[in-house]
Structures are given as C-alpha cells and as structure tokens.
C-alpha cells in the first residue's frame, strides 16, 4: 500500500463522485438518460453490498467453507436475522461482532 496508490484512489474517487453529484445540477438534463439506466440505479447498492458480503461469509480464507466451523458465516447469519427483524444498524453491527467473538471462543 504505497502513498501514490492511496492518493490515486482518493483523487479518482473525488473526481468520479463529484462529477456524479454535479451531473444534473450543472451538466445534463435527466431526460437525456435512457430509461433502463435510470431504473438500474436503485439496484446498484443492494448488488454491491451483497457482492461484498457473500464472499466474506462463504469464502473466509479464500476457499469454500460451508461447515459449522465457519464462524464468519454463523455470525453473518445472526447479523442478517437481526437486521431483518430490527432494521437497527447499530444493534446489528454490535451483536454481529459479539457473536463472531463468541463463536470463535467455542
């Protein structure tokens, strides 16, 4: 992790994010976007988040682990159930982390 690597990401992230925020306020009328593209926007966050969660739970060491010994999968399931039941972000994060800690002791 070099300094130039990090700053490429920070400045690149700055440019793409700011251009997106400026897009219709300063640059283009919304109607110019194809409808399919407009519809796709709301699907991006769930797709990205699920795409990051699944490998972290199912491939904890980079390879398949669907056993009861996979503490991250078990704690992830606890967090998912909590999130669905309570919709409370902080409770989900706290209990999710705590349950990983407990499962790793067992």
């Amino acid at each position: 992790m070099t300094t130039s690597y990090l700053w490429t990401i920070i400045l690149g992230g700055l440019v793409v994010t700011y251009l997106i925020r400026l897009s219709f306020i300063l640059l283009i009328p919304f109607e110019r976007l194809p409808e399919r593209f407009r519809r796709g926007l709301r699907f991006v966050p769930p797709a990205v988040l699920a795409g990051l969660i699944a490998p972290a739970l199912l491939l904890p060491e980079g390879s398949w682990d669907l056993t009861l010994g996979n503490e991250r999968l078990l704690a992830g399931i606890v967090a998912i159930v909590l999130a669905v039941r309570t919709k409370n972000i902080w409770l989900t994060i706290t209990i999710g982390m705590l349950s990983l800690w407990i499962f790793s002791l067992v």
Binding site: I20, F43, A50
Partner: protein, 238 residues
C-alpha cells in the same frame, strides 16, 4: 414551521439533520478506526472523508484496498456505488436551476443520501423562503460531523489495538446497510444474484468478479422490472 430568513433556514436545516447525525457519527468513528486498522495512514484516512465524502463507498474502498485491489478497480467500484447520487442530482436540479454557479457547485459538493432525504421534505414547498439555505444547512452539518467523527475514529483507532476479528466489522456493516435496501422482490433477487455471482467469479483477477456480478445482477433487476411493467407501460411516454 415557517423559516423566513436565510440564516433561520440554514439553522433549521442543520437542526433537522440532528437525528440522522446520531446515526452518522458512530459510522464515521468506525470508518476512521477501521481505515487505520487496515493499514491506511491517518492523513489518507481523513482525506477519504474530506474529499470523497460518501460513507458506503469509503467503507467498500477501504475493504478493497486491504485486499490489494488495483487502484482503477477501486475507483470504478466507488463510481458504481455512488452512481445513485445521479438520482438526487436529477431530483434537485430543477429547484437549483436559477441559483448562481457557486451555489450549484457547493450544494452538489454537499449532496449525500442524508442531506437529500432530509431536504427533499423541505423541497415539497420550494416556493417559500430560502430552501437552498436549508439544503446548505443539512449538508454542512453532515459534512462537519463526518470529518470530526472520522478524526475521532482515526485517533481512537490508533489507541485501541487491532484484533484479528476486526475485519469482520466490514461485512457486518454491509449487512446492516443492505437489509433496508431490500424493499421489494426485485431488489431481493438482485441482492441474491449479486451475492452468488460474486462468489462464483471470486477467482477472477483484479476483483473484476465483483464488477461483473454487480453489472449482471443490476441488469437482471432492470429486465425483470421492465418485463413486469411492460403491459402497463405500453403507450406511455415516460
């Protein structure tokens, strides 16, 4: 409630943002601490919040950086994650069209999920008072809290030693963020497909598997939705 002057609108906007800040501040602290524990230096960790200023994309970028993902893939992922701001930009654009250039570039800078959500309520009555000052108040309150909380996290994070389990804070945070976005069966299908494809493609180089999984599952969501709407939408211009 009626806010008559620019400064009163500004303060009202900042005040209406307070309940949301209660949720944002711990999030900023977690980001600062996590970035440090992943090996990102303090200055760069703060620069993420100062310059990118978009919570979920900062967490996702930090996770990708920790895995040594090439910079262009990280930037591309930030782009995809923040693409939803296009909707906010488009929604607010008609209301901001008469403002001066410097107002536009400043309000665009402060445009986040939270500022948008709070001020879109205010913009239901756009013709009275100074709604752009209200938006400025919500945006600046959020920006300041995000900087301070990131700084706190960076500072606390270097005191609290990292543990082997801390990397799990990322997926568990993502779970907490994901569930509220699943508000119909299309989003649910997109999330499940995205998860499965991401695992299947996880061996591809440069984390490209994630990009492919995102694009394919979003495409599937759009197709399914268009198919369902087709009979109703026919002949409609929108």
């Amino acid at each position: 409630m009626r806010a008559a002057s620019p400064s009163l609108e500004f303060l009202t906007g900042a005040r209406d943002q307070l309940p949301i800040l209660l949720g944002v501040v711990p999030f900023g602290i977690i980001f600062g601490a996590l970035a440090r524990s992943l090996g990102i230096p303090a200055l760069e960790a703060q620069a993420f919040s100062l310059l990118i200023f978009a919570g979920s994309s900062q967490f996702i970028a930090a996770g990708l950086i920790a895995e040594g993902t090439p910079a262009f893939v990280v930037v591309l992922t930030i782009l995809l994650v923040n693409l939803r701001h296009i909707l906010y930009s488009a929604t607010l654009a008609p209301y901001l069209s008469k403002l001066k250039f410097r107002w536009k570039i400043m309000l665009a800078w402060l445009l986040t999920d939270e500022a948008f959500v709070v001020s879109s309520v205010r913009y239901q009555r756009p013709h009275e008072g100074y709604p752009h000052w209200y938006l400025f108040g919500t945006g600046l309150a959020l920006w300041a809290s995000w900087q301070i909380s990131t700084f706190l996290g960076i500072t606390l994070g270097s005191i609290v030693p990292g543990t082997a389990l801390l990397d799990f804070a990322l997926p568990v945070t993502f779970i907490a963020l994901l569930i509220p976005t699943l508000n119909d069966r299309f989003t649910l299908v997109v999330a499940i497909t995205g998860g499965i494809l991401s695992v299947l493609f996880s061996t591809l180089p440069f984390k490209l598997g994630l990009m492919i999984a995102i694009l394919m599952s979003v495409g599937l969501g759009v197709l399914l939705e268009l198919r369902q709407d087709a009979p109703i939408r026919e002949g409609e211009s929108s």
